[in-house]
């Protein structure tokens, strides 16, 4: 019974909060008032809606991070990355053990407004110093054992898939924090956050002779931190791309990505797809259609494309994000917008 009530609250709260998000709180109150409702009742209903939204807000994002819904196959072992970790172009750097199922992606899309707000809240309160990457705990069906309060591949993938552009300020903050910790770790042996990579990728350069030294706990922590730092930058760039932010579209980063798209589009497995509608429904999770250049592309992490990471590129991405936020402050991004990717 409790579950049924929660679900009712989730569905109704989501619909109602979506309405508030789209039209603004005051406008919504006016609409109700013109409908003949007294102000007191309006605020009562608003209060009930907030409660429903809170119930829902606390649940879905955390639930999906804990249980993303599907898993990799046995041999989905990504190629090692350079220890310096290049910058992935508009994607995550590597596959994880668990990833979003189509059903969970649909649920997240349905509750886009609330999930977006919850992501903003999460990034605002995220404290990397509290990351513990606890030792093994028993996990059940579909449980990824990821900490929903910390960075994870699932969190970043949700931001990417739902185009949560409102997450930009939070990403800027957390990326700056992580970058500062990486710098401090190099210069004064400061400790690094114990982040959970959630995937099997390792760094190249390991040999028989240096095996033990290479797999020290510190070296793995540094590699993990670099992966997440590069991925946050990549996600920021992807969000700006979704918004068709022109300085990004005119950049060398975009030129490199276009070259990668053209190369892959000629692959015999993709050449038959000329529009998003051509992609079979059971493979939409694996094949995307880029609407900037009108080309199909592989969505899996094994076809991710990279450019070398440099501090200058990092500054460019951060500046684009900051400039975009300054230009668009006060505007609402439509929560109902979707882009076929």
């Amino acid at each position: 019974m409790g579950f049924v009530l929660m679900e009712l609250a989730r569905c109704s709260g989501g619909l109602l909060l979506q309405s508030f998000y789209n039209f603004g709180i005051e406008a919504e109150m006016e609409r109700l008032k013109h409908g003949g409702m007294k102000r007191g009742k309006c605020w009562l209903i608003f209060g009930l809606w907030l409660c429903a939204a809170t119930v829902m807000r606390a649940g879905l994002l955390e639930e999906v991070i804990r249980k993303p819904g599907t898993w990799n196959q046995m041999c989905a072992m990504p190629m090692p990355l350079d220890f310096d970790v290049p910058l992935p172009m508009y994607s995550l750097a590597t596959a994880r053990n668990f990833f979003l199922s189509p059903a969970n992606l649909d649920r997240l899309q349905e509750q886009r407004a609330v999930v977006g707000a919850d992501i903003v809240s999460l990034l605002n309160r995220m404290d990397l110093s509290k990351a513990t990457n606890n030792s093994a705990q028993p996990v059940g069906l579909l449980d990824s054992n990821q900490d929903p309060e910390q960075l994870s591949g699932t969190l970043l993938d949700i931001i990417l898939q739902l185009d949560v552009v409102e997450a930009l300020p939070g990403l800027l903050r957390v990326e700056a924090d992580l970058n500062q910790r990486l710098s401090a770790a190099k210069t004064n042996d400061a400790s690094l956050p114990a982040l959970d990579l959630g995937g099997p990728v390792m760094f190249s350069g390991v040999t028989q002779e240096n095996f033990k030294e290479q797999f020290s706990s510190r070296r793995r922590s540094e590699f993990t931190a670099r992966v997440y730092q590069r991925e946050m930058l990549s996600v920021m760039a992807a969000l700006l791309r979704h918004e068709r932010y022109q300085p990004l579209l005119d950049s060398d980063l975009e030129k490199s990505y276009f070259g990668h798209l053209k190369q892959n589009a000629g692959n015999v497995q993709l050449e038959r797809f000329h529009s998003a509608a051509d992609i079979p429904s059971n493979q939409k999770g694996w094949i995307g259609f880029d609407t900037v250049h009108g080309l199909p592309f592989f969505k899996d992490q094994y076809h991710a494309a990279f450019v070398p990471y440099t501090p200058e590129l990092r500054q460019d991405i951060r500046k684009w994000a900051a400039d975009y936020l300054q230009q668009t402050s006060g505007k609402k991004t439509s929560a109902a917008s979707t882009t076929v990717k």
Binding site: T70, W71, N72, Q73, M74, C75, A76, M77, P80, N97, F98, S101, P102, A103, N133, N134, S135, A136, Q137, P138, V139, G140, L141, L142, D143, S144, N145, D196, L197, P200, M202, V206, T207, Q208, F211, Q214, F215, R220, V268, Q269, L270, N282, Q283, G285, W286, I287, F298, D300, Y302
Partner: protein, 290 residues
């Protein structure tokens, strides 16, 4: 010549005689019947070399193993059905209502959630059922399901090293038969991508166990057919992964040289220990009483 010189010469002669003596190959007897219809091969205790020089997940090393018995073939649908009938066990895929399936015509790496896929219907409800595939390896069973079967039968999964020692059967090459892959000796994906399987090995998906020649110790399908779950994870994995992942070896009908290339004696994969796919299976190991 002094006595000391004579003793020295005798010692040198003995050492040289020892070096000249050829090392006897490990002799493994024929398979013998085990529980639930399994045929078991006894692997003697000893010192073995596993891994490959420079491989970061499976580096070359010398290990010591106690003797153990290992099934000569992957657990079949028929054997698993007896377990389910005896215990009423419900697999993870049945609890979730779906498993992951890949079919010819899909792009590389794509797997799709298929409602109703389970060990009873490994490719879904519209495809051949386990009852029609009795001698095929059981699939759509998770690592946890495999462990449950092994516990029921009084056995366990092989460790990563036990699997490799048995699969190598004394070979030092990439495959049990040598360093050149032969598509007629194992069931893997033939073709440049998963749009089309050219079926040089004669099979599109799983093959009945023992369809291909065994290795030198009488084990079948150590390469290809289905990935075989193993206990433990490589040292490169996070401690946290022990609770959520399970390792697998040997490659499967899905694996191709254009994708993972894991159908060999060296590579080690890992996945969600409660996940189920149409290319996962296992073989059983039994400890030998001293």
């Amino acid at each position: 010549m002094s006595r000391l010189h004579l003793k020295l010469l005798a010692g040198i002669a003995l050492v040289l005689a020892g070096c000249a003596t050829p090392v006897a190959p490990i002799v493994v007897g024929p398979a013998r019947p085990g529980p639930n219809g399994h045929q078991l091969v006894s692997i003697p205790a000893g010192t073995y070399r596993v891994g490959v020089l420079g491989h970061f997940r499976n580096p070359r090393r010398t290990i010591h193993l106690a003797g153990y018995d290992i099934a000569d073939a992957e657990t079949t649908n028929e054997e698993f059905a007896r377990f389910v009938k005896a215990t009423g066990y419900v697999t993870d895929a049945e609890k979730m209502g779906y498993g992951l399936v890949a079919r010819e015509g899909m792009i590389d790496w794509a797997w799709t959630e298929t409602k109703g896929a389970s060990w009873r219907a490994p490719f879904g409800l519209d495809e051949p059922r386990a009852g029609e595939l009795t001698n095929h390896p059981v699939t759509q069973i998770s690592g946890a399901d495999a462990e449950a079967y092994c516990k029921w039968i009084g056995g366990r999964l092989p460790t990563l090293e036990e699997w490799e020692v048995a699969a190598r059967a004394g070979s030092t090459t990439r495959w049990p038969w040598g360093d050149r892959f032969d598509p007629h000796l194992a069931n893997v994906w033939n073709g440049t991508n998963h749009l089309h399987n050219t079926q040089e090995d004669g099979w599109l998906y799983t093959a009945p166990v023992r369809s291909f020649p065994p290795n030198a110790w009488g084990l079948y399908d150590v390469i290809g057919n289905v990935f075989e779950y193993c206990a433990g994870l490589p040292a490169t994995f996070d401690k946290k992964d022990e609770a959520r992942l399970i390792a697998g070896r040997g490659g499967s009908w899905w694996c191709s040289s254009g994708t993972c290339d894991f159908f060999n004696l060296v590579d080690i994969g890992a996945m969600d220990r409660h996940g189920s796919l149409a290319n996962q299976g296992f073989r059983v190991v039994f400890d030998r009483a001293n």
